[in-house]
Amino acid sequence: MEILQNILTGFGIAVTPVNLGLCLVGCFVGTLIGVLPGIGPAATIALLLPVTFKLPPATAIIMLSGIFYGAMYGGSTTAILVNIPGEAASAITCIDGYQMARRGRAGPALGMAAFGSFMAGTFGVFLLMLIAPPVAELALKFGPPEIFAVMVLGLTILSYLSSGSLIKAFTIAIVGLFVGMIGIDIAGIYRFTFGIPDFFDGIGLVPVLMGLFGVAEVLLNLEQIVTRQVFDTGIKGLLPNGEDWKRSAMPILRGSFIGFFMGVIPGPSNTISSFVSYAMEKRLSKTPERFGKGAIEGVAGPESANNSACAGNFIPVLTLGIPTSAVMAVIVGALIIHGVTPGPLLIKNNPDIFWGTIASMYLGNFMLLILNLPLIGIWVRVLKVPYGILFPLILLFCFVGAYANNNSLAELNVMIFFGLVGYLMKKTGFEPAPLVMAYILCPFLEEAFRQSLIKSHGDFSIFIKRPISAAILAMAAGIIVLNVFSGVKKRRKSLLEKI
C-alpha cells in the first residue's frame, strides 16, 4: 500500500507540464542519439547537464534518464537498417535485424524492437518500483569471485552467437579476448599499447563496433554496387504480423527478466544482457537454423533485454549511490551538481526524485512507443536512398561518431583498422559477434579473476567455496556439457543418415 501511495505521489510529480514536457524532450534527444552511431548517452547527458542547472533536481533527472532509455530505443534503428549498432547494446540486433531488412522486413523488425522495448522497459520499471532495495542488497553479494563466474557463464554462450563454424567462432573469440587485454592492467602493467596513450585504457568499444559492423559493411557492399539487388525486394508491411507476434511474445518476456537482473550487476550489463538473450532464444528455439537469417526472435529478445536492463541499472544508483556503468556515473554527477547526495539515504531524503523518476519512466516508455512507431515509415524509406549517396553518408557518420566519442584521432584510426579487419573476417567466414562479446567480457573477466586470487592469496578454491559463484560456475559447466552432448548426438545422427 505504501508503494501505491508513493508511486501516486511520483505520478503527481511526473505529470506536471514542465516535467512531462522535459521527459518528452529527453526521450526525443535519446532516440536521436541512439540512432546516431558513436554519440552515446553518457556524453550527451554530460553535455546537456548545464541546461538543467536552473531546473529542480527531480526534473533534471527525469529529463536526463529519458535520454538514457530513449537511446536504447534508437540504438536498434541503424542496426536494423544499415548494420551499424547505434549503441553497443544493439550490436547483437545487427545479426538478425539487418537480415530482416535485407529481406524487405525492416518495418516489422523496427516495430518489434519498439514494442519489445516498450513492454520490457515498462516491466523493468515495474520491478524497479517493487523490489529495488532488496535487489540492491543482493547485488552487493556479487564480489570478485561471483562476477568472475558471471563472466565465465557469458563466455559459454559464445557458441550460440554464431551461425557458422564453431571452431571459427571460438578462434575469433580468442582474438576478441586479446583485443580486450590491450591497455594498462590492474597491476599497472602496459600491454600491447605501443606507447600510444589512447590505448592505455584499452581499445575503445565504439570505434571497434563501428569498424567491425559499419565500415566493414560499406566495404563489403562496394563489391555489389553494380547488382544492387538488396532492397529492391520491396518493403512488406510496416508492422509485425500475427506470426511475428507469436514468435516474439516469449522472447520479449524472457528478455525482460534477463535484462532486469543482469542490469543490476556491475559492468556493461545492457550489452551483455542482449547477448545472453540472443543466445537463450537460439538455444530454446525449435528452429535455431533460422537465426542469422532474419529470425524476429533475434531482434525481439535482445532489444527487450537491453531496455529492461536500463531499469536494472538504476537500482544501484538510486538505492546505494553506486554507478555501475558510464551513463550512471554521469547521472550520479548530475545528482551531485544539483546538490543531491547520491547514496543509501537518497530514497529517504529525496523521495520526490526517486518516485518522480520512476513514474516518469512509465510515461517516457509510452512516449517513446508513440514517437517511434510513426518514424518506422520514414526510416524504411532510408533504404531506398541510392547506395552512391547512402554509403558515403554512413561513412561520414561513422567518422564523426568515432572522433566525437572521446575527441581522439587515434580512435578514428582504430575504427578504420577494425573496418578492414571486419571486411577480411566477412570474406573468410568469421562473424563479428563472438569477437565483440569476448572483447567486452575480457577486462571484467580478468579483473575479477585476479582480484579473487589476490583476496584468497592464490587459492583457487575461492571460486567454489562461495555459494553464489559455485552455483553460477555449475550452470556454465552444465551448458558446456549440454552442448557437447547435443553435438555428439547431431554427429551420430548425420553419421547414421550417411549409412
Partner: protein, 326 residues
C-alpha cells in the same frame, strides 16, 4: 631566448590579427573572443567534470565569455595533460590537474612534468579518509592498526587501481605504521566502494566526499582523516597527527593550470574569474555538503604546493618501488 622571440612573434601576430579583425583599428583584442576550453582528463560524470560545471556559469559571467568543457579521458589523465602542456599559450586552453598529475610523472611513461604548466588557482581540497564497514570490529584507527600488525596481510584494503593515488596513500599507512595490508585493486572509486559495502574488502582509502554519503547512511565508519586539522564535515573523526603519525594520506585537490607562456593580463583574467566563481555561496555550499573545502591558493603559492606534493609522492613511490612497466 628563442622562447621570448616566439612570444614576441605571437604577440605580434595577435596584434596584427586583432587590427585586422576589429573595425576600430585601435581597439585591443578582447579576451575571450571565443569559448575558453576547459580540458578534463577524465570521462564525463567524474569529479573533474562536476567541478567544471559547478564553476561554469559564474566563471562565464565574470570573464564575459563562454567556456566549453572538453573531456579527453585516457592514459590515466596524461593524454589531456600532454594536450594542455603543449597547447598554444593563448589562454584559451585551461586544464584541471589533481594529485594524479604529479603521480603519473612516476607511474607512467607519458606523465607530464608539473614544471611544464603554470598553475592558476586551487579551487577545492578534499582530504582522504580511511573507511571500514559499520559492523567491522575496529572502532578506531588504533584498533585497526594493532589488528593489522598482529595479522600481517590479513586486512584487505581496496583501492582504485595499483599505482593510483589511494593505493599510494594506503602504502603511506604501511610506511608510517609498519603494518602489512593486502591491496585489492578495482577500476575506479565506484567499484571499490561497492566492494567495501558488500564486505569483499575490509577497508578503503578514498576522498571524503566519496565516502561521506555512506557514513551518513550508517554503512561506513571513518577511522582517520588525512587533513591538517579536523574536518568540519566529520568533526568527531581523528586526524593522522592526533594518532601520532605523520600526515601521509594524499587527498584530492583540483588546480586549474595553463601551458607556460600565457600573456599576463589573460592569466590574471582567468584567475580572477575562477576566484569569483569559487567564492559564490552555491559553489561553497555544494562542496561543504560533499566534505570538501573550497580552499584558495593563488599563482604565488601554487608552484611551491606542486613541489611539496611532488616530494611527498616521490617518497611513497620510492618506498613502494613502483615503476612504470612496459
Amino acid at each position: 631566448m628563442k622562447n621570448r622571440k616566439q612570444r614576441v612573434m605571437m604577440v605580434a601576430v595577435w596584434v596584427t590579427l586583432s587590427l585586422l579583425l576589429t573595425a576600430n583599428g585601435f581597439a585591443q583584442e578582447k579576451f575571450p573572443s571565443r569559448p575558453v576550453q576547459f580540458i578534463i582528463p577524465w570521462a564525463a560524470g567524474g569529479g573533474g567534470t562536476v567541478n567544471a560545471q559547478a564553476l561554469q556559469s559564474h566563471f562565464e559571467k565574470a570573464i564575459g565569455g563562454s567556456i566549453q568543457i572538453v573531456n579527453k579521458p585516457g592514459g590515466g589523465g596524461t593524454i589531456a595533460w600532454n594536450y594542455v602542456a603543449n597547447a598554444v599559450p593563448d589562454g584559451y586552453t585551461v586544464g584541471v590537474t589533481n594529485q594524479s598529475f604529479i603521480l603519473t610523472q612516476y607511474t607512467t611513461r607519458t606523465g607530464v612534468s608539473f614544471k611544464k604548466v603554470d598553475p592558476i588557482i586551487m579551487v577545492i581540497d578534499m582530504p582522504a579518509a580511511l573507511a571500514v564497514k559499520t559492523d567491522a570490529p575496529w572502532k578506531n584507527f588504533k584498533e585497526y592498526i594493532s589488528y593489522a600488525k598482529a595479522n600481517p596481510g590479513k586486512v584487505q584494503m581496496g583501492n582504485s587501481g595499483l599505482g593510483a593515488n589511494y593505493h599510494v596513500s594506503a602504502l603511506g599507512i604501511e610506511m608510517v605504521t609498519g603494518v602489512k595490508l593486502t591491496h585489492v585493486p578495482f577500476k575506479g572509486a565506484g567499484p571499490s566502494i561497492t566492494a567495501l559495502m558488500g564486505g569483499h574488502v575490509d577497508s578503503l582509502v578514498a576522498e571524503l566526499p566519496t565516502l561521506l554519503p555512506y557514513v551518513e547512511g550508517k554503512k561506513f565508519r571513518l577511522l582517520v582523516v588525512g587533513s591538517p586539522e579536523r574536518n568540519p564535515a566529520v568533526p568527531d573523526v581523528s586526524i593522522m597527527k592526533e594518532e601520532g603519525y605523520e600526515q601521509i594520506l594524499i587527498g584530492a585537490w583540483y588546480v586549474w593550470s595553463v601551458p607556460k607562456g600565457v600573456p599576463k593580463e589573460r592569466f590574471q583574467k582567468l584567475h580572477d574569474a575562477f576566484k569569483v566563481a569559487m567564492e559564490t555561496p552555491e559553489y561553497r555550499e555544494l562542496y561543504r555538503k560533499l566534505g570538501g573545502v573550497a580552499r584558495y591558493m593563488g599563482p604565488q603559492e601554487l608552484p611551491a604546493f606542486y613541489e611539496q606534493e611532488d616530494r611527498k609522492l616521490k617518497r611513497l613511490i620510492d618506498y613502494s618501488g613502483f615503476k612504470p612497466i612496459e
